[in-house]
């Protein structure tokens, strides 16, 4: 086969692969880079900014690696050979100081963004904040709405453009609560409470899951985070109230038994301070972990 044909085949293969990749990403969003809320958008910007900043060092490293390796290959007798050269103060100072300068910039960014994007910090908004309590269970997510007095499993609905305070705990091993298109994750731990403040700026259904292994059924711990218009949210709440399935202590205890692939379930009411009780049970001697 001649060089020309080989070249044509190579070009076709590369073009075919490139086309496949492009087609793939046309149909599949990259969640973290496709934010649907202010928190995720700021986190995406932070990732892109950091990447660009680091490339200031990385691109020269790549170019120098190729350039130096090629020029000073043993076969190239024209290149200068200095078998005693073992350092250069100015050059070494440069590669101590230039990265230090870049990291200094990044340090300021890290300090500021850690505070502005602290998951415990309420979001600024003209709309009133809404609280949703989250309990990670073996192996499903329970969402309790203290203001609406309803509860749901593996499905969380909330109005768009409304800051949500997710108050999170666990009645099981450690999990991590993550809705990539709305913002970063935080751990769910038994006997402890964490907070994650998120907001959706677009109506839609977003994928959520547990990012931390919690046992056999952990892979099925995904849920839908539905950002709805306020009218749709109200009618969803009304529908839940009509379901006539209260989440009393007996219902909770049967839900708490390990199970996988739980269907979306709505509860018409929740036991008073159920969430507080789940938190407290791990502080009471003799309660807490189920022993199987």
């Amino acid at each position: 086969m001649g060089l020309k044909y080989r070249l044509i085949i190579a070009i076709l293969v590369v073009a075919g692969l490139a086309l496949t990749v492009v087609r793939y990403f046309q149909h599949h969003a990259i969640a973290v880079l496709d934010p649907k809320g202010p928190v995720a958008a700021q986190e995406r910007n932070l990732i892109v900014f950091t990447l660009l900043l680091v490339l200031i060092v990385v691109i020269p490293v790549y170019l120098m690696t190729v350039g130096i390796a090629w020029r000073y290959r043993a076969g190239n007798k024209k290149a200068r050979y200095s078998p005693e050269l073992d350092g250069n103060r100015a050059a070494e100072a440069a590669w101590w100081l230039i990265p230090t300068a870049i990291i200094s910039v990044l340090a300021v960014v890290a300090w500021r963004s850690s505070h502005t994007l602290d998951p415990f910090r309420p979001l600024k908004s003209t709309n009133k904040q809404m609280t949703i309590q989250v309990v990670a269970m073996d192996w499903k997510w329970l969402f309790i709405y203290p203001e609406q007095n309803i509860a749901s499993v593996n499905y969380v609905n909330f109005p768009v453009n409304t800051p949500i305070d997710f108050a999170i705990t666990s009645d099981a091993p450690m999990n991590s609560f993550w809705i990539p298109q709305l913002g970063g994750q935080i751990y769910a731990m038994a006997g402890m409470e964490t907070h994650l403040h998120l907001e959706a700026s677009q109506i839609g259904n977003y994928y959520g899951s547990s990012a931390n292994i919690s046992g056999r059924g952990f892979a099925s711990m995904d849920f839908t985070a539905a950002a709805s218009s306020s009218a749709a949210f109200r009618s969803w709440v009304d529908g839940a109230h009509l379901s006539a399935r209260p989440l009393d202590m007996a219902a909770y205890n049967s839900l708490a038994r390990p199970s996988q692939n739980n269907p979306v379930t709505l509860y018409s009411s929740a036991e008073a301070d159920l969430y507080g009780n789940v938190l407290a049970r791990f502080m009471v001697p003799g309660m807490g972990d189920y022993v199987r």
Partner: protein, 658 residues
């Protein structure tokens, strides 16, 4: 209590019921063991094995045993990796893959545990044993008996982990076994106990080695070799061993507390009863982060030897390199919290640890620039060790960029525990640690075995690894950004992740091809060893003292101790056309062979097995046997033998005559 439960604890027939995948694994390991035993009988090599290897206190022999064990464990951990990729490529939507979730979770827990503790650590200690005494121009390590004990404890820990495949099961709680999942309430079986005791036994071995090699480097250097003349590999080992000394006690204590929780009903880390799981996460990473640098520093050291040798130039910026190592050593103890920014510590705490993490990128970057400028104005020969180095520079930098991204806490909230994280640390550990050690193995192979490895097949192996690695892990970076979390045994079809998982699976096939090339390389090289014999002792035109003695070196390394008063002492001697040997022949003492390290490890193995299965008589017997061995050793007096000066002279003259 019945006699049966007294004798056997929790062990019963149930422990031997396995899914078919496990049975295939057990069968292949058993077949391998039978083949080795049969070969030993057939070639009548038992005595040789016992005398030359199992009871040896020679660091060169111990180094080879570390590396053989690590390579066998690499095959085991690699088989695990293939299963993980196969499961994730196929377990989508209505299809549920060929592994149950509990088997899948055991497989990834075993994969991580084996690759870190028994492959990476094994290769590292193997190379250190082979190279450090030779580079220091000395005959042995500071504590040869302890050194053999370290190896056998490492071996016993590894065998305990392997045994879990056949008897009972392994931990399904991930390679770091976070409580409360790893507590009795959620993991009641023997799996987590296998994990605890396998690591506990191997970890003690690592700590002993850390002390041993620190003392060796500080106290046993060649005449004239001041610290600022140390070969850079020894510097990096000294850094890593300092980390071992400070970090491994934390691991030992943490595992002990988890064991107490599980066996005596204590509540260090339980969710209830006053325990605190966050304390475990802190402690395990206070060990775990330095551990990463324990693994990477000696790999950096390997590159610091290879690049100067193949460039025909001294290392650029020696002092910078030393400072960079010690900056990394110090900083590595101030960053552990970046493994759990998402645990809800305040913004101040997260920001502090994030910034400390980024700062580590500075000395690491300095090292890369110095290696590049070592090639500058050199005569660079691209033998396989250099290919591994170039692959390292390209891939490790990608992993470093990912690392800096994750050092910014709010960015980490979106990347943590996703496949992006998995891709990041595999880039660091495969293209950093493993490529480094594979380069080192190729580089020092002729020194240890007396012949070179086949270059051409070595190149094929490198390209399979480099291409396979990129194919296997670039899709994982993307998947992580798409919201794919780690450790999923199944996912929904509508997420659209499957094509990328399939590409990753193809990547692993390429890596497997690379491993096959390496096996072939070894076979072909052994077959053609007479053609590739290294008669000079210096096959690469090296610079440091290990090349100043014959290949393989005599068991006493140097008949006359070399002079180390110049940096790159061997290169300086070659250039000045002087002999590197120093001083007259003097009689020397070396440690005798002893089976006690092997017995100590066997006792630890039995004791560990007893603790795992609640056979308390066996645990007590193991402990008693171990203490007995120690008493026997401490009361023995005649542990050394002497080689007189005249004998040494005769041996060396015979060597030179050929």
């Amino acid at each position: 209590m019945s006699l049966r439960s007294d004798l056997l604890g929790r062990l019963n027939w149930q422990a031997f019921h396995h899914p078919w995948v496990t049975n295939v694994g057990v069968a292949s390991m058993t077949a391998g063991a039978i083949a080795v035993v049969a070969a030993l009988f057939y070639f009548k090599r038992w005595k040789w094995l016992w005398r030359e290897w199992l009871t040896s206190t020679d660091p060169k022999k111990i180094g080879v045993m570390y590396i053989v064990t690590a390579l066998v464990m690499l095959l085991r951990g690699g088989a695990d990796a293939v299963m993980l990729r196969a499961q994730q490529a196929t377990s989508v939507g209505v299809h549920h893959g060929f592994l149950s979730s509990s088997t899948f979770q055991q497989v990834f827990s075993a994969h991580g545990t084996i690759m870190i503790f028994f492959v990476a650590m094994g290769l590292m200690f193997g190379l250190i044993n082979l190279v450090v005494p030779l580079q220091l121009g000395t005959r042995d390590v500071a504590f040869p008996f302890l050194n053999a004990t370290s190896f056998w404890l490492y071996f016993a820990g590894g065998m305990l982990v392997n045994l879990s495949l056949a008897v009972g099961n392994f931990s399904a709680a991930g390679w770091l076994a976070y409580p409360p999942l790893s507590e009795l309430a959620y993991s009641p079986g023997v799996g987590v106990d296998y994990w605890i005791w396998g690591l506990q036994i191997a970890g003690v071995g690592s700590l002993l080695s850390g002390i041993n090699f620190s003392v060796t480097i500080l106290r046993m250097r060649a005449a004239g070799m001041s610290l600022m003349k140390l070969p850079m590999f020894c510097w990096s080992v000294l850094g890593a061993m300092s980390l071992v000394i400070f970090a491994f006690p934390i691991l030992t204590a943490t595992l002990a507390m988890l064991a107490l929780d599980r066996s005596l009903g204590m509540h260090f880390f339980t969710a209830s009863g006053g325990g605190n799981m966050m304390m475990y996460v802190n402690l395990i990473w206070a060990w775990g982060h330095p551990e990463v640098y324990i693994l990477i520093l000696p790999a950096f050291g390997v590159f610091s030897e290879i690049v100067p040798t193949f460039s025909g130039k001294p290392l650029f910026g020696y002092k910078s390199m030393v400072w960079a190592i010690w900056a990394i050593v110090l900083l590595s103890f101030s960053v552990w919290l970046h493994h759990f920014f998402t645990m809800g510590a305040g913004a101040d705490v997260n920001a502090f640890f994030g910034i400390m993490t980024m700062v580590i990128a500075i000395p690491t970057g300095v090292k890369i620039f110095n290696w590049l400028f070592t090639m500058y104005r050199g005569r660079v020969r691209f033998a396989t060790p250099m290919l591994w180095f170039l692959g390292f520079v390209f891939l490790f930098t990608v992993g470093g960029v990912a690392g800096v991204l994750m050092a910014v806490p709010p960015a980490d909230f979106q990347l943590h525990n996703s496949l992006f994280l998995v891709a990041h640390f595999h880039t660091m550990i495969v293209s950093g640690v493993l490529f480094g050690y594979l380069a080192g193995l190729t580089y020092w192979f002729p020194k240890i075995f007396g012949f070179k490895l086949n270059e051409r097949i070595g190149r094929y192996a490198f390209w399979c690894w480099a291409i396979g690695f990129s194919l296997a892990f670039i899709p994982l970076y993307v998947l992580g950004l798409m919201g794919a979390t780690r450790r999923l045994d199944h996912y929904n079809a509508n997420l659209g992740w499957q094509p990328l998982f399939i590409v990753a699976g193809i990547g692993v096939c390429f890596i497997a091809l690379g491993v096959a090339c390496q096996v072939l390389q070894l076979v072909v090289s052994i077959k053609n060893r007479h053609a590739n014999r290294d008669k000079t002792g210096d096959p690469w035109n090296g610079r440091t003292l290990e090349w100043a003695t014959s290949s393989p070196p005599p068991h006493f390394n140097f008949a006359r101790l070399p002079d180390g008063s110049q940096r790159d002492a061997w290169w300086a001697a070659k250039k000045a056309k002087t002999a590197v040997a120093y001083g007259p022949y003097e009689s020397i003492t070396l440690p005798k062979n002893t089976p006690l390290p092997l017995f100590i490890a066997a006792a630890a193995f039995a004791g560990g097995f007893g603790l795992i299965w609640h056979m308390y008589w066996l645990a007590a017997a193991g402990l008693l046997a171990l203490v007995t061995c120690l008493i026997v050793r401490t009361s023995a007096e005649d542990n050394d033998y002497r080689i007189p000066a005249a004998e040494l002279k005769k041996l060396e003259n015979a060597e030179q005559a050929g």
